[in-house]
């Protein structure tokens, strides 16, 4: 990105590097530091494209750095921020609307399609396409720089980056579209980014919180599907197969973070994930404590999705009746209108209450807005179990 100073050329090059990786890696093997490889390839492509453009007499964009002569197969420089980090700070510039920051980063850094980014934001694809176009135009016309922020601005610029990395993780953890439940590439990418931020900003408790949250949630990834490929709920998973090392690392990170200062949203979410990860069984989970953590989270981050999770936790602490009434308050929230998890949570509480007709309707609603095939299969199996 420093090379081109032109977001569209840069995007083309990043996308191109991804497709080259797909054709080259099967032959040469995957480089140890895939991120560095991708950015090096993207940089060389940028120079190619710029040469082509200038040869055609088109508007020249800034060339800040000389060409790298060699493509190293294994670049690993501790302490030197990755080019992806530079790019993520550019995409997360405060002069861009927060929503555009996240959208742009997902598209440019992680190669998500516009449709996938749209789903992560609960907006339509055309709205998202317009948002991305607008953001790129602003970067170009205002000369938003492609470099790391000044040291004194760095902490203030981190919050938006954390949201981005978290969204990359959640998108990978449960893929919004398609036949796979997870997109391992996105999960790994978010983990890389979180570790990189942690190395860059070791004193930021929210960075620690995000890394912990990813580790603690991803520690369960081996047990989320049954042998037949169906979705297993937290209550059904084999906890002995959870990744102990990831859980210990994650729990350790937030212990430190909680000790240092008032807990921010990522520390609180990680604390919730740690309660799940450390509970010996579903039944012995401390739901009361989890509701309390969600209360604190909602107080500092009143988002409808947080409210939804809080309502579910209330149902597990106080019974399905209480959970259902907490969920019912949310059904008028326009942002949750097409959010399938609200319908599936209602369906589950209705099923437990024996209100099968209403549960059936809610499952059908959830199935209607679910585009992940594995989640869809799970909802269909719940629906058919009700019909018996």
């Amino acid at each position: 990105m420093r090379v081109t100073g032109d977001i569209d050329v840069a995007e083309e090059c990043v996308q191109d590097a991804f497709s080259r990786a797909l054709t080259v890696w099967p032959k040469t093997g995957i480089p140890r530091n895939t991120g560095a490889w991708l950015t090096t390839v993207a940089r060389r492509r940028a120079i190619d494209v710029l040469r082509r453009e200038s040869a055609q007499g088109r508007a020249l964009v800034r060339l800040v750095e000389p060409e790298d002569s060699a493509i190293p197969n294994d670049v690993d420089l501790p302490g030197v921020p990755d080019d992806r980090l530079r790019l993520i700070f550019t995409c997360c510039h405060p002069a861009l609307a927060m929503e555009s920051q996240v959208a742009l980063t997902l598209k440019l850094l992680c190669g998500l399609s516009t449709a996938e980014v749209a789903r992560s934001f609960l907006v339509s694809e055309s709205t998202m396409a317009a948002r991305i176009t607008r953001a790129k135009k602003k970067i170009k016309t205002s000369h938003i720089p492609f470099r790391l922020p000044e040291t004194e601005d760095l902490p203030a610029r981190v919050d938006a980056v954390l949201l981005v990395v978290h969204l990359v993780f959640t998108t990978g953890h449960t893929a919004p579209l398609g036949s796979d439940l997870m997109r391992r590439d996105l999960v790994d990418r978010s983990l890389d980014l979180a570790r990189m931020l942690r190395a860059l900003l070791p004193d930021n408790s929210e960075v620690a919180g995000l890394l912990a949250l990813i580790l603690l949630t991803d520690a369960r990834h081996e047990t989320r599907l049954g042998d037949d490929g169906t979705l297993l709920l937290l209550s059904e998973q084999d906890r002995s197969r959870w990744d102990r090392r990831a859980i210990d690392e994650g729990s350790g990170l937030i212990r430190d973070a909680l000790a240092h200062r008032a807990a921010g949203p990522f520390v609180l979410m990680a604390a919730i994930a740690a309660l799940h990860a450390e509970a010996p069984s579903w039944e012995s989970t401390d739901w009361r404590e989890i509701v309390e953590l969600y209360d604190r989270l909602f107080a500092i981050w009143p988002s409808p999705v947080v409210a939804l999770n809080r309502a579910v936790a209330i149902g597990l602490a106080d019974g399905p009746e209480a959970g259902l009434s907490a969920l019912t308050e949310l059904t008028t929230d326009r942002q949750l209108l097409n959010y399938g998890y609200l319908a599936s949570a209602r369906a589950d509480f209705l099923r437990r209450l024996g209100r099968h007709d209403e549960a059936r309707a809610a499952y059908q609603e959830a199935i209607g807005s679910c585009e992940n095939e594995i989640e869809r299969a799970f909802l269909l199996s719940r629906l058919s179990a009700l019909s018996d």
Binding site: H93, A95, T141, S142, H143, I144, P145, E150, D153
Partner: protein, 115 residues
């Protein structure tokens, strides 16, 4: 390097109530801003209040209509501007953040270049 227009938007009502001490403080602020950023400054002026503004529009038949007042009525009105030169938006923001605007804020706009 690019040029940016820094537009100073402030509440005129607040300015009307401001005492001499306030006016002096702001004037000193602008002088200090100029002294610190001389290398980047390309121009700038304070404007008379919007009560002195005259707006010109053409109606649907193309006839010129002259009206009293600012083009758009807003709580905060354009009261002055600077033209600055900066390497990029971060540098422009760093400079613009030093512009005194205690009754409002500033807007930073890249100046368009025609080739």
């Amino acid at each position: 390097m690019s040029e940016y227009l820094v537009l100073i938007y402030e509440s005129e009502a607040a300015w009307e109530k401001a005492d001499e001490e306030t006016s002096n403080r702001v004037m000193t602020g602008h002088n200090e801003f100029g002294a610190h950023n001389g290398a980047a400054l390309r121009g700038g002026n304070a404007l008379q209040p919007t009560m002195s503004a005259t707006s010109l529009r053409r109606d649907s038949s193309g006839k010129l209509v002259v009206t009293d007042g600012a083009f758009a009525e807003t709580k905060e009105a354009l009261g002055g501007y600077y033209v600055i030169e900066a390497a990029d938006l971060d540098e422009a923001i760093a400079i613009a953040s030093q512009v005194p605007a205690e009754f409002g804020g500033v807007e930073v706009r890249p100046i368009r270049v025609f080739h």
